[in-house]
């Protein structure tokens, strides 16, 4: 199993959690592949912007590999605000040093949105050795150009997320509105599943960038609509709907945004296959969607535009269209976001099978 090829790797990534997850096969097979590459794995610089830092908390929940395997054997996490030593200008200077020494090689991971208001003064991340305050914008302008790959972790970094929820005083944007869109790999979710983060990093290190969908998300994790793989899908098809929490039935009437959101939650499951939102009778809140949260609220009210059974044959196609329809239902100024491009598919699209 020393030589795991890309197709086998993708199979592992997309397998149902009950079978494997990223998981049991990870350590012997992928671990081996990694160790081969280990000599020259590029350093990772992880920075945090406007966010709750729950994405980093989610990363810690990685199981196969666990944090020790991940950090000491697989990736070279050279810089992370929550984990790195250093403080004050040592910290900022150290970050710049790593970026300069690894120009063109390092992977830049951004967690959190970028606040543009007041020239970035709403988020200063530190001071350099000359005593000058460094804003998040300064930092990104300074180092993003020399990164080999750039990953937006979480919905804030990908699309703005809760940080950019209206009225968005801080004028927060996702990374792809700040950096050339095709350079960014988005791993949305509030927070993303640790497998999505680790799996994407793994693909990058072993085979280069994974195939992305229209919103820059790796297809191997975000290819399917939650609704299509939902264990309660049968209820939807038979028009059996739960009206109160805890009742059997599809959760559409309780606000489920599964018909809008992409991700493999229903098969991957969360926290070492313990559960996921729908398993505890709670509706999907659409946290991986570019429209989250402005257009996926109200979370606990039915999306009025879903007509019910009969539209299911093109469920994936209605994902985006449905978002626009919902936007129209909620208010023209929000729908405008889709059309003015705050949220919307990328211009450039790669076509390749997964």
């Amino acid at each position: 199993m020393a030589n795991i090829d890309r197709r086998q790797f993708l199979k592992l990534c997309t397998a149902s959690a009950a079978a494997v997850g990223l998981s049991q096969l990870w350590v012997p097979a992928i671990g081996e592949a990694y160790r081969k590459a280990a000599g020259g794995n590029p350093p990772i610089i992880w920075i945090q912007g406007s966010a709750c830092n729950g994405c980093s908390t989610s990363l810690v929940n990685t199981v196969h590999p666990d944090m020790r395997e991940l950090l000491s054997e697989i990736i070279d996490l050279s810089f992370h605000p929550g984990l790195s030593s250093g403080a004050g200008n040592l910290f900022i200077d150290g970050l710049y040093r790593i970026a300069t020494e690894n120009k063109g090689k390092f992977i830049l991971v951004v967690e959190g949105a970028i606040p543009l208001a007041h020239k970035g003064a709403l988020n200063t991340i530190g001071e350099d050795s000359s005593g000058k305050a460094v804003t998040l914008i300064d930092l990104l302008k300074n180092i993003s150009g020399s990164a080999r790959f750039i990953i937006a972790v979480g919905s804030c970094a990908s699309f703005g997320g809760i940080s950019a929820a209206e009225p968005n005083y801080a004028e927060c944007v996702g990374l792809e509105k700040f950096i050339e869109v095709n350079k960014v790999i988005n791993i949305p979710g509030c927070p993303p599943h640790p497998d999505w983060i680790v799996g994407t990093l793994a693909h990058l290190l072993l085979y280069g960038p994974p195939v992305l969908d229209d919103y820059g998300r790796p297809k191997m994790f975000y290819g399917g609509l939650i609704h299509n793989n939902c264990p309660r899908r049968q209820y939807f098809d038979n028009s059996i709907f739960a009206k109160n929490f805890g009742e059997d039935g599809c959760l559409l009437y309780l606000g489920c945004k599964g018909p809008l959101a992409h991700g493999d939650c229903p098969t991957r499951l969360w926290n070492s296959t313990s559960s996921w939102c729908v398993d505890v009778n709670a509706p999907c809140i659409g946290c991986t969607d570019p429209s989250f949260p402005d257009l996926t609220m109200p979370f606990y009210k039915r999306m009025p535009e879903i007509k019910g059974p009969g539209i299911t044959s093109t469920a994936d196609a209605i994902g985006i269209g449905l978002g626009v329809a919902t936007a129209a239902g909620l208010g023209a100024h929000l729908a405008g976001n889709y059309f003015t491009g705050r949220i919307g598919p990328r211009k450039h699209k790669e076509e390749e099978d997964v």
Binding site: R68, P81, S85, A87, W270, S272
Partner: protein, 448 residues
Amino acid sequence: MAERITIHPLNRGLRPLRLEVEAESGRITSARAGTTYYWDFEKTLRGKDPLDAVQITQRTNGLDFVAHTTASVRALEEMAGVKPPQNSVLCRNILLGLDIIYGHITHFYQTVVPDYVPFPPGGSSYGLPDLRINGEPAAKIQKNIWASFAARELIHRTMAVIGGKVPHICNVVYGGITYLVNSPDILKIQAILKDISRFITGEYADDLGTLENNYRDYFNIGAGAGNFLSTGEFTTGGPAGSLIPARALIGNKTVEVDKEMISMDCTGSKYKSLGPEGSLAAELEPVPDKPGGYSWVKGAVFAGTTCEVGALARMTVSGNPAIMGLGETAVSVLGRSRARFEECQILIARINGWLAQLLPDEEYALKSYVPEEGEAVGTAEASHGPVVHYVSVKNNKIHRYNVFDAFSWNLCPLTANRKNGPVEHALTGVAIAIPESPVEIYRVARSF
């Protein structure tokens, strides 16, 4: 000669901080501690469905999120005058308890320990002075930093069985919870809890002991003003009351906590209050260059004074014997770590008790509606201290929502009556051996 030391960022904590201290002959004479990023997204809740607040507000904080869900639904339940079913009270207690334990383990191994033992192994901890633990004991602690990540994953795994997924749980809703654990779930949780408990009473206890034995002087560094507050937590609805009382110690006087006595003070923060002044309902306007404003923390005060919150405050107001036994040295850098550990031990035992009290066939969610109009305040204790939510509802929509994160208390910026917050207070008077590498500042600030 006076000198000024600025540390920005102070990382590895709940949030990165900016510290600015003035020192005279190697001793800190004044300190300012604040955050440097704007974070007030609960503004988005205006005009939204009140039920949405539970999901939006838990995104305030990627570590203390369970407290935010709980405070959020408690505010609405108080407004409606409803009591959620006992099963949901117990499940919320279990989740809160686990989240507090998670916060404590994270704080100890991720925030505190690397200032005493270099991490990752072989790392120089950026040339920190005063590293007294070496050889085998240091290696053991380094190994346990890795183990702490695994313990944290286990805690989230148990929380997910109850709450769906973690971080950011989905089972807590207005009126109760969406799912009641069944017997296989409970067996799974109990089994994992044993592993977590073993880590706490074994490795965590040992490592804290190693720190205490080698750094006894840190029981005399980083004292506070002696004001403590807990908004109370872990009621089981019965006559026994709460495990942690809603109580404050101001000076040496015990005060029972009334939420009315909590107010907002943004004198030293970059928000301008548009009034009502001091009220939790105040509308806030961000002013990045506000004169005298040096932090984005919304200051929280109780009875007009700043209060230390968190495990040490909870253990103090509940009269924990181990903490009482430390006397005055409890209020110190290592006293705070000891209080966190004691709380973990208490909670892990209680969580098992709460699991046993669940009634599988009884209800866990009310069929109830949020009132069309009203206002209320909800609180919940997080590992770092109480979170406070103010909500007002008009015409079935949220009119105003204000969130105090836990650090609104310990990081309270300078108040209108020129009071310092607990972190600033604890830093004042601390002696610094090497101004270029002020490890004493790191250790004091990271003890909160």
